[in-house]
């Protein structure tokens, strides 16, 4: 039955091929059926595979399809690997993926490039599945780049607008920077350990490298580079907000639920390696913390409904990184899953809002829409509660586990925890700022638009609402994967997390929601009066620009690079050869004068030449 592992990416791939080759000839209903159906089939396959895992009594499985390339002592296979971690990932990808595809059949129905959309979406799911079921890093890298390409194509889906194309290229190139670092990591791992097969690699690494050894640090740093690029963490986070230029369902699928969490998956997958480099692991936690705070601040200032969600995604992945950094591996993966539920819900809800209001993105041009858009309102309400970690929603459990994990760390643990709690406070503010501004208060335009709905769009929202609310009670079967960290887990238990701290973790997000209520709903405080303070204004514009990272990178990398290219358009090396040409032209101009056409001079010069030669010969 595990041979069917290979079927998992096959269905989406077939869907892609069908739509790619025949998409132009098929009717829309058929395209939707193929596009969503292929993922549905994949989901069924996934369910059939993972059943034994969910009951908790299964070993990991390997299945090699064929040898991809083998040169000398290098070998890489199309090998598939299944363990608890993969199970979680494939369920999220195919499950949430299927819901989003279903939603898209309604959302994108009027788009002229309907079949192109589904073709690329299917290719994306196939690549993402390959990424998570690969048993070696090279195959993982294939999936890794594949999802990057699909992300590029989908961000730039509406290609006639150059802005979208710019956003798409920015996303691709920025993640490519990370990917390159990861590729170097692959080189290093192979040259040092002689294999790229993940499981043997981890075993060899634990055998040969001491904790804190240079190779371990270098390798983990390089892999981390890949992870921060893909997962939009500091310092490569700038592409994600711009990536919102794509259609909303892809923001839900790629830039919230699946692709951006690939970095988290990578680190979790390679966690024994990271345990060999405690300093790097701490760095992961710090990156996560810094990112979640920075993105949290920025999310509070944005106007565009999708950009708010994008920054919140960055911030939530920051929590996952924090969890990874403190060794709370399973908590991170748990948060990855719950985040996929509630963030997909929020994005799809946002999609409904945007579509209903004729592609309006500015939240301050909405307002009071809860009556007009009831389904979207319910989605946002539940999604935001989960996002803000309201007690007993899915986000509460997962975020709680991460923060408790942070407390367990010696030394800096308390500070990490504190940072996480502060982040949770801001999460409460920005998530409910969105809800209050869009759905409460006075209506500011678009008064008589009805909600765009239909079963295809509503059903996924309802399923995701249930998952976002109750997803916290799912037990993820990753204990075996992270089992050797059991000692660490035991430490968690012993470490007394006081009731006070639990209370803090519950109360702080509520406080955030309260503050948001006072500002944006009750009108007790007003943002505009706050903005009169010069400091607040400066901070606001600083945060609004995403802490100036875009400007910084433009100044540091893009402008010099473009300048260099422009200056050297004519290729300076060629001037050397052009110089030779000029010299020979000059030489020609000089020597042409001796060609007087006077035969007697020619003869005379011949004679003189001979005389000189002969006398030279005589002398020597």
């Amino acid at each position: 039955m595990f041979e069917s592992l290979g079927l998992l990416p096959t269905f989406p791939l077939l869907g892609f091929l069908t739509l790619f080759l025949a998409g132009g000839f098929l009717p829309r209903r058929m395209i939707g059926l193929i596009g969503a159906g292929s993922i549905g089939l994949s989901f069924l396959v996934a369910l059939s595979i993972v059943m034994p895992f969910l009951s908790g009594d299964s070993e990991e499985v390997r299945h090699v399809v064929y040898t991809w390339l083998s040169v000398g002592n290098f070998e890489s296979t199309f090998g598939l690997y299944l363990d608890g971690l993969t199970v979680v990932m494939i369920l999220v990808i195919t499950g949430v993926g299927f819901l989003i595809h279903l939603y898209s059949t309604g959302f994108m129905i009027d788009d002229p490039s309907f079949s192109r959309f589904f073709a690329i979406m299917n290719l994306f799911v196939a690549s993402m599945l390959i990424l998570v079921i690969a048993d070696n890093l090279l195959l993982l890298y294939l999936g890794w780049e594949g999802v990057g390409l699909c992300s590029y194509l989908l961000i730039g889906f509406w290609y006639t607008d150059p802005e979208n194309g710019y956003a798409a290229r920015k996303a691709f190139v920025t993640t490519r920077v990370g990917d390159t670092s990861m590729a170097i990591g692959l080189f290093l791992l192979f040259t040092q350990l002689g294999t790229l097969d993940i499981q043997s690699l981890l075993v060899f690494a634990q055998d040969r490298w001491d904790i804190g050894s240079g190779f371990a640090i270098a390798a983990t740093l390089l892999l981390l580079g890949g992870a921060v690029g893909k997962s939009a963490q500091l310092p490569l986070q700038t592409w994600l907000p711009d990536a919102m230029a794509g259609p909303t369902p892809i923001s839900a699928l790629i830039h919230a639920a699946t692709m951006v969490t690939a970095g988290v998956y990578l680190i979790a997958r390679m966690h024994p390696l990271f345990e060999l480099a405690p300093n790097v692991q701490l760095l992961v936690a710090l990156i996560g913390l810094a990112t979640l705070l920075i993105a949290g601040f920025t999310a509070m200032t944005q106007h565009d409904i999708k950009r708010i969600l994008a920054y919140s995604t960055i911030s939530q992945i920051g929590y996952m990184f924090l969890g990874l950094g403190v060794g709370a591996w399973s908590a991170s993966i748990f948060h990855l899953m719950t985040h996929a539920f509630f963030k997909a819900l929020l994005f799809l809800g946002a999609g409904t809002v945007i579509l209903s209001l004729h592609h309006e993105h500015d939240i301050f041009k909405m307002g009071g829409k809860w009556r007009q858009l009831p389904v979207a309102f319910a989605s946002f309400m539940i999604g935001s509660l989960a996002l803000a970690a309201f007690p007993f929603t899915s986000g509460y459990f997962s975020k709680d586990e991460i923060l408790i994990g942070a407390l367990a760390v010696e030394g800096v643990g308390l500070w990490l925890w504190l940072g996480g709690v502060v982040g949770a406070f801001f999460t409460g503010i920005y998530s409910f700022r969105l809800v209050f501004v869009v759905f409460f208060g006075e209506s500011r335009g678009h008064h008589d638009e009805g909600e765009v709905t239909g079963l295809a769009m509503a059903l996924p929202l309802f399923v995701l609402m249930v998952l976002a609310l109750l997803g916290g009670f799912i037990h993820i079967p990753v204990d075996n994967v992270f089992s050797h960290g059991a000692a660490l887990g035991a430490a968690h238990e012993e470490h007394s997390v006081s009731t006070f701290m639990h209370a803090v973790m519950i109360v702080v997000p509520l406080l955030g929601i309260g503050v948001s209520y006072l500002f944006y709903c009750a009108g007790v405080f007003s943002v505009s009066s706050l903005m009169k303070l010069p400091l607040a204004k400066t901070l606001h514009s600083f945060w609004y620009s995403g802490w100036g990272f875009d400007c910084l990178y433009k100044l540091l990398f893009i402008s010099p690079f473009l300048w260099l290219s422009k200056v050297n358009r004519r290729d300076v090396v060629d001037t050397f050869y052009a110089g030779i040409v000029v010299l020979s032209v000059f030489g020609n101009a000089v020597s042409v004068r001796s060609q007087s056409g006077l035969l007697r001079w020619y003869i005379l010069s011949i004679v003189i030449g001979i005389v000189l030669l002969v006398s030279l010969g005589a002398f020597l």
Partner: protein, 508 residues
Amino acid sequence: MILLSLVGVFFFGGLLAWLSEFVDVRLPRWVAMLSAVICAGLISRLVFMVDSGGVGLLGWVDEFEGSWIPSLGIDFFFAADGLTVLMLALTVLLGIVSIASAWDEIKERAGFFYFNLLWTLAGVVGVFTALDLFLFFFFWEVMLIPMYFIIAIWGHENRRYAATKFFIFTQVTGMMMLVSLLCLVYFHSLQFGEFSFNYNDLLRVDLPKSIDLWVMLGFFAAFATKLPSVPFHSWLPDAHSQAPTAGSVLLAGVLLKTGAYGLIRFTIPLFPQATALFAPIAMSLAVISILYCAKVALAQTDIKRLIAYTSVSHMGFVLLGIYAWNELGLQGAVMTMLAHGLSAAALFMLAGGLQHRIHTRDMREMSGFWIVAPKMAVVALFFSVAALGLPGLGNFVGEFLALLGAFSVSIPAAVIAVLGVIFASVYSLWVMQSVFQGPSLRQEGKDSTHEALLDLDRRELFFYGVMMIGLLWMGLYPQTFLDFSSGVIEDLVMSDDAAALYAREFSK
């Protein structure tokens, strides 16, 4: 005998194509296509003769030896091993593609055009198969002159300049190679008492330390110019942008590979010691080529010039892999040669197709072609992402192996070269953006010249499809190709003491 008949078919096919023009002007292209197809048939026989992986160095699958100038030890010595067969297959495939791309484009003096095209191919086949170095040099020149005519007669606005530049660069460095070759032969006669241009004999020559490096440099200059590598690359953007489509396809797809082939087959095995000394410099040149030309590419507005610079950048990976001189690096170089042959040829065909349709190569005048020519856009996208090294396509396998090979001998070289991959994504996507994406000029009514832009027709789709399948095959099941060259490359790496020397040089 197959090898001799390969060269012969192209030679006589060329003559016949020229003559057939006087019967009917449409005949030459059919004659050319027929000769290329016959050669494809011949090569498919060779392919089956190569037992996968079983053929090692000097274990030729097919050879032909006939006397030419015995007093100087010059023979007609052709031989092929797995590596050669790969190169021959690429040559013939791209030969067919280039004839197809010239099908409607070349109307003027068609007979002479196909004569030149086939003679270039004959030269390339000769270069890949000749193992008598005099014969090799002869074919090296044969390759050059017809290509000169192709550029100079059927090229674009600045064709004379480009053709002359191409000729001078190749000729000057070719002469350097000739001097080195004669020097090598002279030392052979000193050491073994007779003249010989035979590859197997020359391998045994032991040059004095003092001139070893200089003799090697003669060969290196010729091959590095053809490859090309910085700083010998500047003929290429001109030649490519001015050549007709078929010329660009052959130049990028095949002629550049003769340089890399020469390095693998001749320069390094003939001069292992000098190569070991020189390898760090060659690798630095490779890295500079990769980064520098990627950067220059980005600033180009002429689409063919841009692709030309990216070619140089990609061939840098080949150079890097070759001078890493281990199995991974060499296999990577060979794979990159094959994959780049297809992807660059396809990109030049696309650029040529665009120029044929809208009569400009200036990207500033292009925008939003996706709407009017979606098939072309998808094809272009495919080859662009192939060029930027997307896993699953051939270029990735080649570049990955080359870099991996380089990483194990020189970490800085590999790490800096990897940055080229980032640049590759910048320029590849930039081309897509400025040509196919963005607002459509026609829809905005700004433009009337692009009305004529037609999408790809069936003939074009067929040839692009073949190349796409080729790249996918190389990317997903590269073992087919790797097995062909693995025997040769294993022996190359083993047979020379170069490997040992390398280790020593780099450990310093």
